[in-house]
Amino acid sequence: MPTVEHNGKSFQVDEDGFLLKGMEEWNAEWVDYVKASEGISELTDEHQKVIDALQEYYKKNGIAPMVRILSKTTGYPLKRIYELFPSGPGKGACKMAGLPKPTGCV
């Protein structure tokens, strides 16, 4: 599996560039790394709120929330989430939060 380096830290990632070990390995450097690759200029409280919501949900459910639940818990409509994370809630926000990518009929 590939490894990426950022600010002196290295992370094992899968082919999609998601953290291989998920939240176990997640830290501030990872957030900073994804921020750059996602084209996010500055991390705001809104970004943080989405990340917190995703991680909290994941701890309880072992999976990312459906997008509508994410909108409800953060109070941000989908459009706003896309503005915050240009690759969207799955590929952008989940990746930054250290969640795995959902699979199946999706």
Binding site: R68, P77, G104, C105, V106
Partner: protein, 543 residues
């Protein structure tokens, strides 16, 4: 993996080298090796998923390892050749159909230009006849006298690591949609050839993650998404909350309820991802409207069965949980949602794998009294059959004008159409819930329907260009009705379709949306005591 721009890709499909454009290959197909590069293969299954599956009862997934199709050395087990030949022998003995399909092709070519993968890629090895020939050549070499004596002259060749790579490439550029089979004068089910090739590859630890992760999720949590019981329940209840917001009617679905008359099973994506969510809202509204005595299950929480895309063992195991749960809950019969390949498994394999389900009753609609004799053996009825029967008996009150913001066409999802003959029922339902409806050209619908291009677990993003290519014949037919009739909604009865056609439309026909039929039913239903807001976009309206 960036996908080619639309203009580029359309030109490449039309002008690129292919038999369809008269380009003649310069070498015999046996002499053209496969080349893997980013974008033309799906990611291999993760080692821990394969190990997990191998540790489960009733399943065998040997030779887990980290590998990449781009590697020269695929780290095949030492006795790989023996494994393949013995595996093929075992399957030839077990499946009479396979033996016939290996022997009876006359290479007439009727199937060649019927395949969406061939049409989209122009690659001769995507002609179904040649895809099957990839296996037949090995069969001839080791199992026929002509092949043993005459070798290549008789179309035989020895299995080599290069052949294994070729199998991997082309068994994962086939969606087992069986459009080609509909044109084969011998009725060869080429999907079963692909199925066997994939099975043989699994014996060597070769598979893709987008399939094996859902299989392992389903084995572990009951569904492909990996939704645990409390999450599954929360999600369905969340949809009930949305319905209450939209219609003013509170629906209280039940879970794992013993003694319910009917067990309802649908793909788990319907309670997780858009646009399937709206289809699930449609089910909830319909069942509330007719007062159906039914339950959801958090154990049998998946209609789909990625085991079909893997091997017989896992298909059998995943299918069995639906029946085990029906037995445990003591329901009379099972109602199945808008899933595609579930119906191939139920209609064509279930009875010999896990049947007969004689602890259940032949499905009988408690609302109309209709008995579904066609499901006498599997005890499982399709939501479209069930709904069509309700309409026939005037048991559903609808206001069709609620769907007037849409101009609808119907994509016959491959498996319900070709594996169970579900052609009229969805159309009958649509006729009762929409005013604006137009059919796509006749050679692209019903038995001749074109696949979404991403079925059998090929709905993963890293092969997006392949998906857009193989989905082009379907997208092209949609474009026709969009331009001629102003169609803006592509309806279907399959969860993979709902996900993959959404990507396909956003690429080729960005003004066309995708929905399940039950979404349109749910939106048209006039609920008792409703206090419905102005819903410009039906059940998708955000309030």
């Amino acid at each position: 993996m960036a996908v080619a721009k639309l203009e580029q890709l359309s030109q490449s499909v039309v002008q690129g080298p292919s038999l369809a454009t008269g380009a003649i290959p310069t070498k015999d197909w046996m002499d053209i090796p496969v080349v893997f590069k980013p974008g033309n293969y799906a990611f291999p299954a993760k080692k821990d998923k394969v190990e997990y599956l191998n540790s489960q009862s009733g399943l065998h997934f040997p030779n887990a390892r980290d590998w990449s199709p781009e590697d020269d050395d695929w780290q095949l087990p030492e006795n790989w050749k023996e494994i393949i030949i013995n595996g093929l022998r075992e399957r030839l003995e077990k499946f009479r159909s396979l033996k016939i399909f290996m022997d009876c092709c006359v290479r007439c070519g009727a199937c060649a230009d019927k395949c969406h993968f061939f049409l989209g890629t122009g690659d001769p090895k995507n002609m179904p006849v040649l895809r099957a020939e990839l296996l037949r050549s090995v069969y001839r070499n080791d199992f026929t006298l002509a092949g043993k004596v005459l070798g290549r002259l008789a179309g035989a060749r020895e299995v080599t690591p290069e052949v294994i790579k070729e199998w991997f490439m082309y068994s994962y550029q086939c969606t087992e949609c069986r459009r080609c089979s509909a044109f084969c004068p011998y009725g060869i089910d080429t999907a079963e050839v692909t199925i066997v090739i994939r099975e043989l590859l699994h014996l060597l630890g070769i598979g893709i993650n987008w399939i094996l992760e859902p299989v392992s999720n389903s084995n572990r949590t009951g569904n492909h998404m990996g939704l645990q019981p409390h999450t599954f329940k929360d999600n369905v209840e969340f949809l009930a909350d949305d319905i209450e917001n939209l219609t003013g009617v509170r629906i209280n679905p039940t879970f794992n309820r013993k003694g319910a008359e009917v067990l309802f099973i649908t793909p788990s994506a319907d309670v997780f991802a858009e646009p399937g969510l709206y289809t699930a809202m449609g089910y909830l509204i319909l069942f509330e409207h007719i007062g159906l005595d039914y339950t959801w299950s958090t154990y049998a929480s998946e209609g789909g069965n990625f085991g079909l895309f893997t091997n017989n063992e896992s298909m059998k195991k995943l299918n069995a949980k639906m029946y085990a749960e029906a037995k445990r809950l003591g329901v009379k019969w099972i109602l199945g949602g808008e899933c595609g390949h579930m119906w191939r498994v139920v209609h064509q394999y279930m009875d010999t794998m896990n049947g007969p389900a004689d602890f259940l009753e032949v499905p009988k609609s408690p609302i109309t009294g209709t008995v579904f004799h066609n499901a006498a053996s599997t005890k499982m009825t399709h939501i479209s059959e069930f709904t069509a029967d309700l309409f026939k008996h005037n048991k559903i009150k609808v206001d069709k004008s609620r769907n007037d913001y849409l101009n609808v066409t119907f994509h016959d999802s491959c498996n319900p159409a070709r594996a169970m003959g579900l052609l009229e029922e969805p159309r009958y339902v649509l006729k009762h819930v929409v005013n604006n409806y137009h059919e796509m050209p006749e050679n692209t619908i019903r038995e001749q329907t074109f696949c979404c291009g991403s079925g059998t677990g090929l709905n993963t993003d890293e092969i997006m260009e392949l998906r857009m290519r193989s989905g082009l014949p379907r997208a092209n037919a949609v474009k026709y009705v969009e331009e001629k009739h102003g169609v803006n909604m592509l309806s279907c009865v399959c969860a993979i379709d709902r996900a993959t056609l959404t990507s396909l439309m956003s690429y080729w026909n960005p003004n066309v949306g995708v929905c399940g039929i039950s979404e349109l039913v749910g939106n048209a239903i006039v609920l008792d005591g409703e206090n419905r807001a102005e819903l410009d976009e039906g059940l998708r309206t955000l309030l």
